[in-house]
């Protein structure tokens, strides 16, 4: 068990690349920050799993249904692992985290506050959103100071990489489809481009403690820009347009520059006031209640063991 004399000592340890373990006497501010970060991640995996689940019966063809099933299991499995380490931090129990999520008093990522209208939307989510989520998880993994979280991220990233390949394959299938399919895909890209780049959040504050404590390793704007530089040319090469009238390529540097983003709507979205937040939460609640008999049955099995 490690202990530190002061917050300054602790910060020096973490900045030096030190890894904090659950039994260490970490400062309360760090415990709370790492807890909130993992809770948000867990909630997002859970809500993402429920979205994916909606597409198991609707995905075109057996192979894609199987993939939707596997991705649902992945997301819920990730949420399970994350809720375990979040609960272990002793701030809230797992039941309390579920209650808060379903009551709408805690948060989940912006991208799960929108409606997935069509198969094209589902492909846009798989291609644009999964890649944005993966990029931000990779950045957390790189220098993550909380040991159990870093270990889970290793597996989460390997599995999300597999989702990203799936997203690329789905997009290329749509890109090489009929005019109707390409139009459907472009409509979906128009809907999902902004939520995807907003996933990285507004520019990081200069004194962001998450960066100082190596919970995050890169600034939001750096991650967002890297994503834009990669995905603008990919979309254009696949024959799609990027829905940003202010987009241009700097002729000297070759870099893609986007319009300024209005962050006000994101703030409301993150407070569960997004376009589809209410329905998403009521669906999550219904799923939780529908599955109560499974939890009860499992509890009985455990007790009888």
């Amino acid at each position: 068990m490690k202990t530190w004399e002061s917050l300054e000592d602790f910060e020096a340890f973490v900045i030096d690349g030190g890894i904090v373990e659950p039994s260490d006497e970490m400062p309360d501010v760090y415990r709370l920050a790492v807890f909130k970060f993992i809770e948000l991640h867990a909630n997002s995996e859970y809500m993402g799993g429920l979205t994916e689940r909606d597409w198991i019966p609707k995905a075109p063809g057996l192979h894609r249904k199987l993939t939707a099933l596997a991705k649902t299991q992945d997301e819920i499995g990730h949420a399970h692992l994350l809720y375990m380490i979040a609960a272990d931090l002793g701030v809230k129990t797992r039941d309390e985290m579920m209650e808060d999520l379903l009551a709408g008093t805690t948060n989940f990522h912006n991208v799960f506050h929108y409606r997935v209208h069509s198969w094209g939307d589902q492909v846009a989510v798989a291609y644009l959103v999964d890649a944005a989520a993966l990029a931000s998880q990779q950045a957390v993994f790189k220098n993550c100071s909380y040991g159990p979280y870093k270990r889970i991220l290793r597996r989460v990233i390997a599995e999300e990489g597999f989702h990203m390949r799936n997203g690329e394959e789905l997009l290329l299938t749509m890109a090489s489809g009929t005019d109707l399919q390409r139009t459907m895909m472009q409509d979906s890209i128009n809907r999902w481009w902004l939520p995807a780049i907003q996933l990285f959040g507004p520019d990081s504050r200069l004194d962001d403690p998450l960066l100082r404590w190596n919970i995050k390793s890169e600034r939001n704007e750096v991650l967002r820009d890297r994503y834009i530089q990669k995905f603008v040319p990919q979309l254009l090469n696949a024959g799609f347009q990027v829905p940003d009238s202010g987009l241009y390529q700097d002729s000297e540097t070759g870099r893609w520059c986007t319009s300024d983003i209005d962050w006000e709507p994101l703030k409301a979205t993150m407070r569960n006031g997004g376009p589809d937040s209410k329905r998403r939460l009521s669906d999550a609640k219904a799923a939780w209640e529908d599955a109560s008999w499974v939890r009860d049955a499992l509890d009985e099995v455990v007790i009888s063991k």
């Binding site: 373990e21 299991q73 399970h80 692992l81 375990m84 597996r155 597999f162």
Partner: protein, 148 residues
């Protein structure tokens, strides 16, 4: 040609464990000639595994990369895959890099972090059908266990 294809295919890595090859996981069963074609038999870890199509694509690409023109890839139902087919090297990588361990024949398993052998089962199925989830109360890490 047969040897070149065999060597290339053996290096194909698993889609979910990028540091481990399909040969080390015991997925690659055999590579043989049949007339003009090269046949590759693979053993799926689970018949409904969603990664099978990706593995098939990667295996075909690896064979074509070394010049094979007529290749057929088949997933066999016999033999049946068990975790005993995973090599020692792969077990070390899985434990060290991914904190994934393999359930022993007697049902026990050991924490790859602290060697604690009293893991608590938390879920019979984890993020994939081939893994369950345990909790190590010693080092307080969730551990995924490859099922039998």
């Amino acid at each position: 040609m047969l040897k070149a294809v065999r060597d290339a295919v053996a290096k194909v890595t698993d889609p979910e464990y990028p540091e481990v090859t399909i040969e080390q996981l015991g997925i690659l069963e055999r590579v043989f000639s049949s007339g003009e074609s090269i046949c590759i038999d693979l053993v799926p870890t689970r018949s409904g595994c969603p990664a099978l199509e990706i593995i098939r694509t990667d295996v075909l690409a690896a064979a074509k990369d070394v010049g094979a023109t007529s290749v057929s890839v088949k997933f066999c139902s016999d033999p049946v895959w068990t975790p005993d087919r995973i090599t020692e090297d792969a077990r070390r990588i899985l434990a060290r890099e991914f904190f994934v361990v393999i359930r022993n024949v007697d049902g026990s398993s050991k924490c790859p972090m602290c060697e604690n052998s009293e893991l608590e089962n938390r879920s019979d199925v984890g993020s994939t059908p081939c893994r369950s989830v345990s909790w190590c109360a010693e080092c307080r890490n969730p551990i995924e266990v490859i099922r039998r």
